[in-house]
Symmetry: C3
Subunit: 396 residues, 3 copies
């Protein structure tokens, strides 16, 4: 006898009556043979700076590994929806990242997404940990979906810059789906910091801190072959009551895709600002704003059961004052990336894929395609970085 | 084709033949906007004690957050039962706590409950980690089910006092369900400490330690509108061979509820004792027993699809000697709490809820409704604490 | 209405179309009352070596506990297979170890096995974390399946010796099943170490390290009552560029079983070598190879719904030079073990079991049946070790 796995509400502790319901188990297991290699700038004349290294030329750091998530992020999740009647529905989504190459991460966290929602004609109210609106533009309009060595530089640089992919403790609102192609969302993430009133005098107390607060929104239009969306997000990444500064990462981006049939084009422009607000007078050596701007151009071409993917992305850091963020250059650091790939679908759920990518840095930018970092960034700065993924993605 | 998720016994390593079976996946995703605020006693004249704070009045510490488990504990679990024939059954229950507000805890542990059982006409023998019998009285007879800001003070104080909610490595026995309303359970939890024979001379060896041992039982009667139960538990929380002391937390409680229809009444009395047994002569400054007594009165009133909930709870610490546990008071510390709430059921599985609560401390008691603690309890002691939860509970 | 838990491919982020599929949830919950006891050699005249202990005789260390995995390893897993047509199939297997005695480990890792496979007429290519080929012989030809106090000494000693049970980041190949009883597999596990080119001068950099690399294979023949297999594995457990040594654990083993019907016989021979390769000249005090040899004889006898199990295993350490690995003996350390057990099957999924075992050490060998270790192995060396498991195994 073959029985089904049924989901029952179990609230024995609370004594609440239980009801039977549906739950969807889903996941992705993606594994690839991946290789990463970065070459540093030459070190001629930099001997004194270099206790680790006797050679005066450039250094190459490389690694080959069995990796996960080269095409889609490996994951395991549980989700379900309950029809409450009258157009109202309750739903949940719990999704864990998994590391299937070495098994070191199971369903230890649901930090990919963990939400509970109430939805109806008014739209959807969603509570929990969710993707940031600005991240959606980075990934939806990237032919490589921000996975593997092909990930666009806007997303790669965003990570170091402090622009979050996800936010915890959020209240989200989503427009209903029946607006003639228009869609949108708002998101507020609590900082959850303890507040003392009156404030404490001691400097090492994170008082009145807003660190962790996220405010963001995204609005778009998708109809037929066109999809276009604009997003804005402001993340408070530092808040020091004592020195009187609040640091925010503010990001504005705009992405679009158009499916011509034989080819689909992708594009995105993005600007992030590392902004310091001074509540008192700026302290000595006060750091001015830093801007990170970038753009992305992409294309996908269906070929039978396969899909060719290509993208070019570019980022630039604007240091708006003589502050040593990327010494010793004074020119603005910048980088560009070229990625090329092919996906062969064995079915809707299973695909083989191959991607190659190369990053070129200028003026001290230090981005790579992933993989190992140099031991000391102060000495070795990656000039070029290349890599490939060759793998299989299986979804369930 | 829509296939079912079927559960198959998989014992490939051991070569055991496998059989198909049913498994139930269940869970709760509960999220709330919660706020906590505690006000300390005035600090007039306490300047020297207070390096953190310049003000001489009272201090308020507060936090607002997206929280989980305000109405029911967020969880995800797997359980199933196999009919072995002849009235015998085998079953398992694996239940994980989850943190859906920030996704930081997935199915990392099964420390809510993880048991395997054999049951029949004789009752049930259950092995593993399970709730303690005394906890059942605290939660079953609390209109707020020991969740959220409404949690009764007996349970709140029990945590600090060392009275466990769950016990690991237990053997449990449960009476069969056909005893005319009578029910009962016994629980023994192994300490699992290593024993040296003969004992070692070195003092820092936890030798012959019984720390972690739990012995408990609960007996009750539930028939029609009445439910009444008494429970006793003894937990060994410290055992020092070298100084010759064994510390136990012994708890005796009695709870009851009566459902009149329009209203349901709840009540509980509880007494916990922190008891130190001296195998040798008491060392200097030996600490005498400390008692924690408490009572709870509660009521729920069904209103259509909703339920009004209210409770009043009180606890008192009896310091049986001039020992400085809650300086500088000499009178017995005590606290009381008033909680009021409303639950609106959108379905059996989904509910909206709101709860407000206030704790008042006297003579140095330092209980709160939850949320942030003061930086230094030696300086700031909470006098009053208030909080609210406003959230949604979705079960599956 | 009772709905099924259905599994849907969910690739919302990547925009991939999803397909419905089947997933199998499976697991084992095994709990036992287990006891372990080890007795040390006498310490007459060893006072100076013994700051912990005043007595001059032998010391006994013991523990009784509620344990897990006495008969089969407790686990929870997800797996599934997709028919890709044309004889091709994709599949995944994610299996977590669980600790059901105290609930401390849920589905935190999938480090029992986490793989994705592509299989067809050519066999199976499997990527991820998997069992090592040499481990299969240790467990398949052990009447106790390397679980509980009955685990054979080859496997017990292998753990300390560095011979891995599983390997991460592997590419595996398995022969197809239609080869007239012949079966086989090859496994390569990436070391995933970062490589610097040219190499760095600093000694504390793990440069060009091959630590973590695994290369192994297994070939066998199973037909009717006979099953026989040979396996070889080489694991690089240390690689020091600076001192110029590479340490490998190389294991060769051969196992067989023959089912006569009333009795089934088991046997295995195994040899592991801890081998140090010197790239430069051996440093002073260079350690020669150490060998670990062992054999196992086992039998199982079906008795109605039950199964009697017995095994005898023996291991010996060959120190090929006067190196102090097991002071103060100069003779080769060796140990043997006798295990006896009975399994009573209540169903295919549920069984009660009992096992007793005893290990005897000679010449400084220090193996036990499990459980607590002595505080200081330099002082206390286990001479004899006995233990029992009495438990229940429930699979789903």
């Amino acid at each position: 006898m073959k029985k089904s796995l049924v989901a029952l509400a179990a609230l024995a502790v609370a004594g609440v009556a239980s009801a039977q319901s549906s739950v969807t188990l889903f996941g992705v297991v993606d594994a690839s043979i991946s290789s990463y290699s970065s070459t540093s700038r030459d070190l001629h004349g930099a001997t004194l700076l270099n206790p680790f290294y006797l050679n005066q030329g450039s250094v190459k750091v490389s690694r080959r590994e069995l990796a996960n998530s080269g095409y889609n992020s490996s994951r395991l999740g549980f989700r379900g929806t309950e029809d409450l009647g009258g157009g109202l529905a309750a739903s949940f989504w719990l999704e864990a990242p998994i590391k299937n190459d070495d098994g070191s991460e199971g369903v230890a966290t649901f930090n990919r997404r963990s939400t509970v929602s109430l939805s109806g004609g008014f739209g959807e109210v969603r509570l929990g940990r969710d993707y940031t609106p600005t991240f959606w533009n980075n990934t939806v309009f990237d032919p490589f979906g921000t996975n593997g060595v092909g990930t666009n530089l806007i997303q790669t640089a965003a990570g170091d810059f402090g622009h979050p992919t996800r936010a915890s403790n959020t209240i989200g609102y989503f427009l209903p789906p029946n607006l003639g192609g228009f869609y949108g969302q708002l998101q507020y993430g609590f900082s959850e910091k303890t507040k003392y009133s009156p404030g404490l005098a001691t400097p090492d107390v994170a008082n009145n801190s807003r660190t962790g607060r996220n405010i963001a929104g995204r609005f778009g239009y998708a109809n037929g072959p066109l999809d276009v969306a604009v997003a804005y997000g402001s993340s408070t990444v530092g808040d020091q009551f004592y020195v009187g500064t609040t640091t925010k990462i503010n990001t504005l981006n705009l992405g679009a895709s158009y499916d011509f049939g034989p080819v689909k084009l992708f594009g995105e422009v993005s600007k992030s600002k590392n902004k310091v607000d001074y509540e008192v007078t700026p302290f000595a050596g006060g750091r001015p704003d830093v801007d990170l701007t970038g753009y992305l151009l992409g294309v996908t071409v269906p070929v039978g059961a396969g899909l060719i993917r290509a993208s070019y992305s570019h980022v630039k850091y604007d240091n708006n004052a003589p502050v040593v963020l990327f010494a010793p250059e004074v020119a603005d650091p910048k980088a560009n990336k070229l990625a090329l790939g092919y996906v062969h679908n064995l079915s809707k759920r299973t695909a083989l894929y191959a991607t190659i990518a190369r990053v070129s840095n200028k003026n001290g930018a230090a981005l790579t395609v992933g993989g190992p970092a140099f031991i000391s960034n102060a000495v070795f700065t990656p000039k070029n970085s290349t890599g490939y993924d060759f793998g299989i993605r299986h979804a369930f």
